[in-house]
C-alpha cells in the first residue's frame, strides 16, 4: 500500500521534471527529426555563442568530411568532425582549437584554462584516447574543487565517443562509463537520443564542475524526433535524472547510450509475450538516479541492467548494489546484469558480436527474471 503511494509521488515528480516526455508522445507525428550529430552541433553552437568563455579543443586533424560509404563500413574519426561542423568558420581558430596529437598535453592545458575561469570543451577522438590524459581528468580536474576547499572549480567538459564501434579492435572499443563514474568530483553523462544529447550537453557546458560526456559513435547518424521545446536555445536537461523511455509493469530494464535502443527493441519483443517492460534511460551515470530506479523496481519487482562495458565493477553492479540496499524487500527475482563479455574486444566479426550484448540477450534475461524460461535456480511460480 505504502509502496503504491510512494510510487505515485515519484511518478508525479518525474512527470514534472520532464514534461517533454508527455508532449513527445503527443506531437511525435508533427515533430522534427534530428540526428544526434546535429543535436550535438547545435548545442555546441548555441553555448559557444551564448558565452564567449566557452572554447573547443580537439584533435581536429583537418577538415575531413566523411565519405558516405565509410558510414556503413566503419565508424571513423571523421564523425567527430561532423559534430563541430561549421564551428571553425563561425567562431574562428581562437575558439575552436586544433591541437596536435598530445592528449595529456592538451587535456592538462584545458584543465588549467578552466582553473582560471574559461570553459573548455575537450574532445577526445574516442574515450580510449582519454587514457593518455586520465591523470589530468581525475587528478587535476575531478579532485581540485575538493582539494582547494571550493576555491577553484573546474567548469570543463570532456566529450567524445565511448564504447564499441564496428570491428575496431581491442584498443578502440572499451566503455569508460564505470571507470569515470567511480571517481567523486566528476559528473558522467551518457545521452541516447537527440533530445538527451542536446539537453545534456548544454547542461554540461553550463555546469561549474568537470563533466565527462560519453557519446556513442554508432548513434551519431541516428535520427530521433524532437519537439519545439528541445529546439529552444535555453533548453537543458537536469543532470542526475533518468528518463523512463517506456512505461511497464513487469520488469525494469535500465540502460544507457546505445543499449537503450536495444532495450526498446527488446521491450517490443517482450510485449508480444505479454511481458510489459519498463525501460529506464539512465542519462546520468554519476550522479546515478537512484530514486527513479528504486521507484521503478518497487513497481515492477524485477530488474535487468544492460550495459556495453566489462562486467566486473560495472554500472550494473552499482545499480544492483543500490537496489539491494534500498529495495531488497521488493525484489521478486534476482537482479540480472547484461554486460559486454569479460574479454578485451576481439577483432573477428563473429567474436565481436558475441562479446557485446544483443537484443536477444536482453529478452532472455527479462524472461528469466519473469520466470518464463528455464529457471536457473529454485523457481517459484509467478
Amino acid at each position: 500500500m505504502l509502496g503504491i503511494i510512494r510510487q505515485k509521488a515519484f511518478g508525479q515528480s518525474l512527470q514534472r521534471i520532464r514534461p517533454v516526455a508527455s508532449s513527445w508522445r503527443g506531437y511525435s507525428s508533427t515533430s522534427k527529426q534530428m540526428m544526434v550529430r546535429e543535436a550535438l552541433n547545435s548545442a555546441l553552437d548555441e553555448e559557444m555563442s551564448a558565452d564567449p568563455k566557452v572554447f573547443l579543443m580537439e584533435k581536429r586533424l583537418g577538415n575531413i568530411r566523411v565519405h558516405i560509404r565509410s558510414y556503413f563500413l566503419t565508424s571513423n574519426c571523421g564523425f567527430m568532425f561532423m559534430i563541430s561542423k561549421g564551428l571553425l568558420e563561425k567562431y574562428g581558430p581562437e575558439r575552436v582549437l586544433d591541437t596536435p596529437i598530445t592528449e595529456a598535453g592538451f587535456t592538462g592545458i584545458g584543465v588549467g584554462a578552466a582553473f582560471y575561469g574559461l570553459k573548455p570543451i575537450v574532445e577526445f577522438m574516442t574515450f580510449n584516447f582519454s587514457m593518455q590524459a586520465i591523470d589530468h581528468i581525475i587528478n587535476s580536474a575531478a579532485k581540485t574543487n575538493y582539494m582547494s576547499a571550493g576555491q577553484i572549480s573546474v567548469p570543463i567538459v570532456f566529450r567524445g565517443p565511448n564504447g564499441a564501434a564496428a570491428g575496431v579492435g581491442a584498443q578502440h572499443s572499451q566503455c569508460y562509463a564505470s571507470w569515470y563514474a567511480s571517481c567523486p568530483g566528476l559528473k558522467v553523462l551518457a545521452p541516447y537520443s537527440s533530445e538527451d544529447a542536446r539537453g545534456l550537453l548544454k547542461a554540461a557546458i553550463r555546469d561549474p564542475d568537470p563533466v565527462v560526456f560519453l557519446e556513442n559513435e554508432l548513434l551519431y547518424g541516428e535520427s530521433f524526433p524532437v519537439s519545439a521545446e528541445v529546439l529552444d536555445s535555453s533548453f537543458c536537461l537536469p543532470i542526475g535524472k533518468a528518463k523512463i523511455e517506456r512505461e511497464g509493469k513487469d520488469v525494469t530494464i535500465t540502460a544507457f547510450s546505445k543499449m537503450v535502443g536495444y532495450a526498446l527493441k527488446a521491450a517490443e519483443i517482450l510485449a508480444k509475450d505479454g511481458i510489459s517492460a519498463e525501460i529506464i534511460n539512465l542519462r546520468s551515470i554519476r550522479p546515478l538516479d537512484r530514486p527513479a530506479i528504486n521507484a521503478s523496481v518497487r513497481k515492477t519487482n524485477r530488474l535487468v541492467t544492460v550495459e556495453e562495458g566489462f562486467p566486473q565493477h560495472g554500472v550494473g553492479a552499482e545499480i544492483c548494489a543500490s537496489i539491494i540496499e534500498d529495495s531488497f524487500g521488493y525484489l521478486d527475482a534476482p537482479v540480472e546484469r547484461i554486460t559486454g563479455a569479460d574479454v578485451p574486444m576481439p577483432y573477428a566479426a563473429n567474436l565481436e558480436r558475441m562479446a557485446l550484448p544483443q537484443v536477444e540477450d536482453i529478452v532472455r534475461a527479462a524472461r528469466r527474471a519473469c520466470y518464463r524460461s528455464v529457471p536457473m535456480a529454485a523457481a517459484q511460480s509467478y
Binding site: H67, S70, G78, T102, A104, F129, V168, G169
Partner: protein, 435 residues
C-alpha cells in the same frame, strides 16, 4: 659495398659550429651546413651526425660531426655503382617492396568487398622505409610498429597468409583473429605489435631494447645485442611519450633505432601546422643521440643509413633517431576520402615511387633484367592471391575462443609453490577457504 659504407664514416670532418656545442661535451653538434628546409624538395642532402667508432663503449667523449655532402656521395655512387647492393640483395629488396604494395592493394579491394572491416591503414608509398630497415635485421631483432603495420609484418617474415587471415578475422590469422589490422603480433618473428594509439609503441620498443641490453649485461646471454626498431610517424613526434623514451634510450644507451616515417600528414593534420620545429631529426641531438634525415622514397639511401644506425646499436653505442621523409599514396585509412592533400604534392611523390626507382636502378646497373623482375612480380601476385584464398577458406573463430587468452594462466589461480599452475593440480579446487 664496403667502400660506400666507409664513405659515410671517414670523410673529412667539416668545421664545427662551436656556439651550439655544450660545455660538458656530451652532446653531438648540429650540422651547421643543413640547408634550408624545403620538405617538398626533390633532393635531400644526407646528413649524418654520428659518433665515430669508440674504443671504450662507456666513454662520454664528445662526438665528431661527420657530414656527408651529396656531391661526395654522388661521386662514390657513380664510380662504385654496383657496390651499393648485390644482385641478390637487389632482388630481395624488390620482392619485399612489391609484396608490400601488392598486399596493400589487395587489402583495399577486400575492404571494399566487405571482407575486412574496422580500421585498415595502408602503407602504399612507404615501402622503402620498411624494406630498407627490416631486411637488415636478424630474426631475433625486434620490430615495434603502429596501426600501419601490415608491411612491417610482411617484411619481418610473417607469412602473407597469416596476415591476410588476421585481417579477415579468421582463426588462422597471426593473432587468431583477435587482434585485427592494427594489432599484429608475432612471437616467432619478434614483431611486437601493432598499436592503435600513436606513441604507444615507442615505450614498448624501448623496453624491448632494454631487455636485450639486460640479457647481455646482467644475464650474460649471448654476444651481440638484439636491436629493436621502433616505427612511428610525424604526429607522434609531438607526443610526450616519444621524448621520454628518447631521453631514457640515450641515457641507458639502449640498442634501439627510432625510425620516424614522416609522411607529412597526421590523418589530416599537416606536420608543418602541428609542430613548432618541423625538422624531427633535430630532436635526436637534443637528447644526446645522432639525428639523421634521409629520403624515405629511396630504398638504397634508407638502407645505407639503416646499416649505420643498426650497426651502432649492435655495437652498444646507443640509439639513433632516423627521420625518413616519405609519403603515403592513399589516405590515412580506407575510410579516409583523402580530399585534403594537394594533388600536386601527391603527384610529386608519386613520381618518386620507391618501387619504380629501385626497378630503374636495377635495370640501369644491369643487376637483373626486366624479365626477372616480371617473374618476381608474378610470383608475388600468386602469393597474394593464395593468401586471399587461404583467408577466405579459413574458418571463423569458434565460440569457445571468445574467452580464451585473457590470461596466460589458464584459470587465474596463479602459480603454486611447486612452480606449476595451481589449476593443474587436481586437488586444488577441493574445498575453498584456507586457514
Amino acid at each position: 659495398m664496403a667502400s660506400a659504407f666507409s664513405a659515410t664514416k671517414f670523410t673529412q670532418p667539416l668545421p664545427l659550429n662551436t656556439s651550439t656545442s655544450r660545455s660538458h661535451g656530451k652532446q653531438s653538434v648540429f650540422d651547421p651546413l643543413k640547408s634550408s628546409t624545403s620538405f617538398l624538395g626533390s633532393t635531400r642532402k644526407l646528413r649524418f651526425t654520428s659518433f665515430p667508432k669508440l674504443n671504450q663503449p662507456n666513454s662520454h667523449r664528445p662526438s665528431l660531426v661527420v657530414a656527408v655532402s651529396e656531391a661526395v656521395k654522388e661521386k662514390k655512387l657513380k664510380s662504385t655503382s654496383n657496390l651499393l647492393i648485390t644482385k641478390e640483395e637487389g632482388l630481395e629488396l624488390y620482392e619485399d617492396m612489391v609484396l608490400g604494395r601488392a598486399f596493400e592493394d589487395m587489402c583495399a579491394q577486400m575492404y571494399y568487398r566487405g571482407k575486412m572491416f574496422g580500421f585498415v591503414h595502408l602503407y602504399n608509398g612507404q615501402e622503402a622505409v620498411s624494406t630498407g630497415f627490416i631486411k637488415l635485421l636478424k630474426k631475433e631483432d625486434y620490430v615495434v610498429s603502429t596501426y600501419r603495420d601490415h608491411v612491417h609484418a610482411l617484411s619481418k617474415g610473417v607469412p602473407a597468409r597469416a596476415v591476410m587471415s588476421e585481417l579477415f578475422g579468421k582463426t588462422t590469422g597471426c593473432c587468431r583473429g583477435q587482434g585485427g589490422s592494427m594489432h599484429m603480433f608475432s612471437k616467432e618473428h619478434n614483431l611486437l605489435g601493432g598499436f592503435a594509439f600513436i606513441g604507444e609503441g615507442i615505450p614498448v620498443a624501448t623496453g624491448a631494447a632494454f631487455t636485450s641490453k639486460y640479457k647481455r649485461e646482467v644475464l650474460k646471454e649471448g654476444d651481440s645485442e638484439d636491436v629493436t626498431l621502433a616505427f612511428f610517424g610525424d604526429g607522434t613526434c609531438n607526443n610526450g611519450q616519444f621524448f621520454e623514451c628518447l631521453n631514457l634510450a640515450a641515457l641507458w644507451k639502449l640498442p634501439i633505432v627510432f625510425v620516424v616515417e614522416n609522411n607529412l600528414w597526421a590523418i589530416g593534420m599537416s606536420h608543418l601546422r602541428a609542430t613548432s620545429d618541423p625538422e624531427i631529426w633535430k630532436k635526436g641531438p637534443a637528447f644526446g643521440m645522432p639525428g639523421v634525415h634521409v629520403d624515405g622514397m629511396d630504398v638504397l639511401k634508407v638502407r645505407e643509413v639503416a646499416k649505420a644506425a643498426i650497426g651502432r646499436a649492435r655495437r652498444g653505442e646507443g640509439p639513433t633517431l632516423v627521420e625518413c621523409e616519405t609519403y603515403r599514396f592513399r589516405g590515412h585509412s580506407l575510410a579516409d576520402p583523402d580530399e585534403l592533400r594537394d594533388p600536386a604534392e601527391k603527384a610529386h611523390y608519386a613520381a618518386r615511387d620507391p618501387i619504380i626507382s629501385l626497378k630503374k636502378y636495377i635495370i640501369e646497373k644491369s643487376l637483373a633484367s626486366e624479365a626477372e623482375l616480371k617473374v618476381i612480380e608474378k610470383k608475388i601476385d600468386e602469393v597474394v592471391e593464395d593468401a586471399v584464398e587461404f583467408a577466405n577458406e579459413s574458418p571463423l573463430p569458434p565460440r569457445s575462443q571468445l574467452l580464451e587468452n585473457v590470461f596466460a594462466d589458464p584459470k587465474g589461480f596463479g602459480i603454486g609453490p611447486d612452480g606449476r599452475y595451481r589449476c593443474e593440480d587436481p586437488k586444488f579446487t577441493e574445498g575453498t577457504a584456507h586457514v
